[in-house]
Amino acid sequence: MDEYDELFEIQDDFEDQFADELEVMAQMEAESPKPGKRQKQGPGDDISDIEHLLSEQPTTPKAKRQKQEVGVVKRLFNSSQIHDSEAPSHGEDITPPSSPEQYDHLQTVRSAPAVLDISGFDTIPESPRRPPTAAVSLHVLKRPPLEGDYISVTDSSGSRVYLRQKEDTGAKVVESRMVPNSLGSLGLLAVPIGVLREAEADRRHQQVVEESQRLTELLTSSVNDVLVETESREEEEDGDPEDSEGRSSRLWVDRFSPRHYTELLSDDFTNRCLLKWLKLWDTVVFGKERKTRPVRSDRQAPNQNSSKPNQANQNPNRFKTKVELTEEILEAELDQYKRPKFKVALLSGPPGLGKTTLAHIIAKHAGYNVVEINASDDRSADVFQKRIDTATQMKSVLGANERPNCLIIDEIDGAPTAAINILLATLNKKDSGEAGAESGKKKKKKESLLLRPIICICNDLYVPALRPLRQQAFLLNFPQTQPSRLAQRLAEVSLRQGMKVDTGTLMSLCEKTDNDIRSCINTLQFLHSRGHKQLNAKTIQCVSVGQKDQNKGFFHLWQEIFQLPRTKRKRIGEGFNEAPGSGGGAQRFQNILHLASSSGEYEKVSQGLYENYLSMRVRDPNLHTTCDALDWLGFSDRLNHVIMHGQNFSLMRYLPFLSVTFHFLFAHTHVPRISYPHSQQEASSRLLSSRNALISMLADIPPSIRARISQLKLTLDTLTLLLDIICPKLRPVNPQLFSSREKEQMHELIDTMLAYNLSYRQDRTPEGQYTYVLEPRIEEVVRFPGLPPRRQLTYQAKQTISREMEQEKMRRAEQLMLQRNPVAKREEKKDARPTTTRNHQQRLENIVKQTTVETRPEVDFFGRAVAPKPLRASDSGEKCPVLAMGKAVGNSDVWFRFNEGMSNAVRRNVYIRELL
């Protein structure tokens, strides 16, 4: 009958609902030879006749619609025919002789004339009944017809319809019926036809009564729904058809989701905060004055939360400051565009607490039209941009919901960073400066400004991509739902679905699902559909659904593994009904396995186990436990290797058993002190750094030696001894004073160091002392802590070596150059001397020039050349002293240069004339 219901509920108007009832009537009418007799049997008895309806059908304008209905009715009759065929067998005691076959035969024969009437239709037995329904719907009127007889029909809910009456064609039908009957009368019936008809009519009547009862029930139940689903009438009507459609197929979660603010299960403080925030937008969105808002919301909040007034104050100590902070935000001034300071609300919390529901309901409550973007949509940057723009800047002009939009971005923690950046850009959009805003008023430039509230929802607030958004958003963290409230709601739900559940059971369900509303209701529905009409705590525990596949922190998991469950702790999965000894092991096993497999990160978990197991307080004198544990670690390591190497991920399922083993090996009643595993990370980074040191050392070793050493040989054999070898005993004296033996030794040392790419680099310690360190830093690679320190060279020795090495390097480089282009080098050497002399000369010449420049023609004050004076002759005769001196400087072998400043050289007065 599911199909029946479903189809039934597609039609939403009254006529359609009653169509089948009426139709049944019509059919009976058609079947019965005496129409008059029918009249008492049902409310809509003697309504219509086939002929008339048939004739009318083609003229109806809504042919398509009718066809649909016809189809529906046909389906309906399929089911009713099942009844038909069933009915005789049931009613055999009453009318034993009529067999179903006969009956069918009768029917088909009867239908024959109808086929003639409707030429276009198939000759399936139902076909004659099709037209009546279509027609009946036409003849069911909401108000009394203007002419002709009518019958009023009233259902139990009080709505009344009017059915038009027709009288004349009944005989015709009878006549048409008579033909097959007369044909059939060739074979004798065991029972007189009259009795048969009598029985058939009774059966029909009964069926109709049943049907109408059922309909009444349905109607009343839907009315109840209407009553329950409080005020907002138009919303109700929107929801109603959807609600009634697929009643059984829909999830309870959706059906029983709150429709109104008062029905919200989530924490009242959170609800109120979000609502207040949304109300802050009223000024800009609805143009309301802000003054009214706080009054209204304040009044509203206590009123609506009257059921649990003290919710927000329940844990006053811990969250006091946070609460105050939030309140402060909500009381904060609006910005220059009259928007609240935080333009986005960011709801965060674990799944199943009703974040999305809350956002939707509050947005509706505040008078917004909800536009939702969630993970199912494409969230690439441009699509996101488009959708944000559409949602925040446009408004539906047509249609019923002319309310402003409120954008809800669900599951924002999964959005790509680019999308979140776009959201941020939208938030921070400025109105092209103040002046621009003034002038742009008429240009509607303001469109770019965000003027609609945006609510974002996420599970994990600390996703890196959300970091910038966090600073700009009004953060609201969702606390856990109160188990008592949740249980109460669950009780309502189960009551309405006819399940018998006591509160204790529901509480345990809440505990099992960690107060996840969705999960609770889904579990209930699952159990309901499985036929559990009565639930107890045991069923809840045994059932494997409902347990949330969540991951708790690593520390929680490690703690669970290393700690024995306390007996009085009523954990789900550790049956407290059973004796602790009997099934405890298995339960613990399952519990740990579940925890470990839901955490997923086996690598990290096993590292934590490895780091911590040795510090557990377990009596293990023979170290067998430790050996077992390590064997398991080795096994899991091997598994990991196989999984990673061969991509054989089906083996992954064996990894969580490591945790189970550790639990059974090391669990203890004490609270374990667990430290976070760092050592492997540290080890790998140190390994990397020492590798790098070796690689950098190897990189510049000349190939002749490079060919003979590898990294491995270096670490295993060479390096330690090499470090010893490069620390010879050196006399702390100037290398010039070394004996030839020592010089040779020094030379060898430098040779070795150069060959192995080692050098000393001056470094400054944090204390400010200078030291020479070996570069690359291979000392760290080969030296182990706790061993007797090796002999170190003194600072002076290292300095000497370093200096000598530099010289040696230079020498070698020069040699190399010389080798590469010996000719050029030699030429250069030849040139070297002449060029220097030339330089010297040049400079001197410059000096001479400078001095000789003085001998240009003299000019007077006005720039005219002064006529040679008699003085000149004498000048030229005895030579200008300056000129003479300049020439002397240029030409003589002796020259001097005056350097400014002071020198420590021996001083002596020297006159120029002495030099000349």
């Binding site: 170290l623 080890a683 002749s704 030696i705 060919a707 590898s710 040989k713 295993l716 054999d717």
Partner: protein, 356 residues
């Protein structure tokens, strides 16, 4: 060229100091004008590389000693760039594919194949084949070894491979069967002593035979180590004295201390300490199998009788698992814990027997 190891390394087959039979055999091999792929293996410090270089010199003349380092960049199919250093002369190419880590297969496929495919231009003056020297073959992944199989056969005409490894156990069978395996064993103590004395003579030093013996024993007949030790001794103190302290590598000392720590106490706390030491060894680039080997050697000194076999058996078991797994520390610690358990039981049994 100043370390004695480098300075006095023989450069031709005729000048080799020990395993002279093998040297002459190699010489004969080359003089035939052709030789098969070689797989040279043997413990570290036995002179494998020296032998190979001598062989190449015998083949191509002194030209092989003009080496250069080439930085090659190979692009893996996954577009990842692999940089690898090769040492090459005009006649040969030396690669350590395991430098590329897990991508060594690509190195084999790309680099070696290109070398193998290219023909020698002046075939009149040269041999008609090049030599590719692959070092640390035992660290090659299986994939890379399989990639090598076909290359070895296909380009036989233009290329000979000399594979070079410490042991053949990790070289797959098909490759072993394609090569002429040459094992270079460690020199005997006398041979090491002889080499040490002759080197010292060349240096103009006088090495007392007792010290030479001590060095050769301490070095475990690893000639490279022995020479380095000898030189370190020389740096420490010249006129050599007989009872001179021979320096050793730090990691060995550290490992020995670790082993002593294991033997002296068996408890979870001690195991934690040992773990820290093992980490220390691992981070100093000491390969885990060598740690395992060293540990077993040190531990066996402290065991007696049938305990030795048991310990050796356990060591083999955990060493195998070590090779199969990724995380060396687990297996090393597992071995340590197992040894502790066995040893403790043994000691307690011994104590019981004493008491009754």
């Amino acid at each position: 060229m100043s370390l004695w190891v480098d300075k006095y390394r023989p450069t031709s087959l005729g000048k080799l100091d020990y395993h002279k039979d093998q040297a002459s055999q190699l010489k004969n091999l080359v003089q035939c004008g052709d030789f098969p792929h070689l797989l040279v293996y043997g413990p570290s410090g036995a002179g494998k590389k020296t032998r190979i270089m001598c062989l190449l010199r015998e083949l191509y003349g002194a030209g092989v000693e003009k080496l250069r380092i080439e930085h090659q960049t190979i692009v893996a199919p996954s577009k990842k760039k692999i940089e690898i250093n090769t040492i090459a002369s005009n006649y040969h190419l030396e690669v350590n594919p395991s430098d590329a880590g897990n991508q060594d297969r690509v190195v084999i496929q790309e680099l070696i194949k290109t070398v193998a495919q290219s023909q020698q231009i002046q075939s009149s003056t040269q041999r008609e084949f090049k030599v590719v020297l692959l070092t640390e073959v035992d660290r090659l992944t299986k994939d890379a070894q399989h990639a090598l199989r076909r290359t070895m056969e296909k380009y036989m005409a233009t290329c000979r491979l000399i594979l070079y490894s410490n042991s053949t156990s990790k070289v797959i069978g098909p490759i072993r069967s394609r090569c002429l395996a040459i094992r270079v064993p460690l020199p005997s103590t006398e041979e090491v002593c002889n080499v040490l004395t002759s080197v010292c003579k060349k240096e103009g030093l006088l090495l007392p035979p007792e010290l030479a013996k001590q060095i050769s024993e301490k070095s475990g007949r690893n000639l490279r180590k022995a020479l380095l030790m000898c030189e370190a001794c020389r740096v420490q103190q010249y006129p050599f004295s007989v009872d001179q302290d021979v320096p050793e590598t730090d990691w060995e000392a550290y490992l020995r201390e670790t082993a002593n720590a294991i033997v002296s106490q068996q408890s979870p706390q001690r195991l934690l300490e040992v773990r820290a030491r093992l980490y220390e060894l691992l981070t100093h680039c000491i390969p885990p199998d060598i740690i395992m080997k060293g540990l077993v050697r040190e531990l066996l000194n402290n065991c007696d009788g049938h305990l030795k076999t048991e310990v050796a058996h356990m060591a083999a078991y955990y060493e195998h698992r070590l090779q199969l797994g990724n995380k060396a520390i687990y297996h090393l610690e597992a071995f340590t814990a197992k040894f502790m358990a066995i040893y403790k039981k043994f000691m307690e049994d011994g104590l019981d027997a004493m008491m009754f």
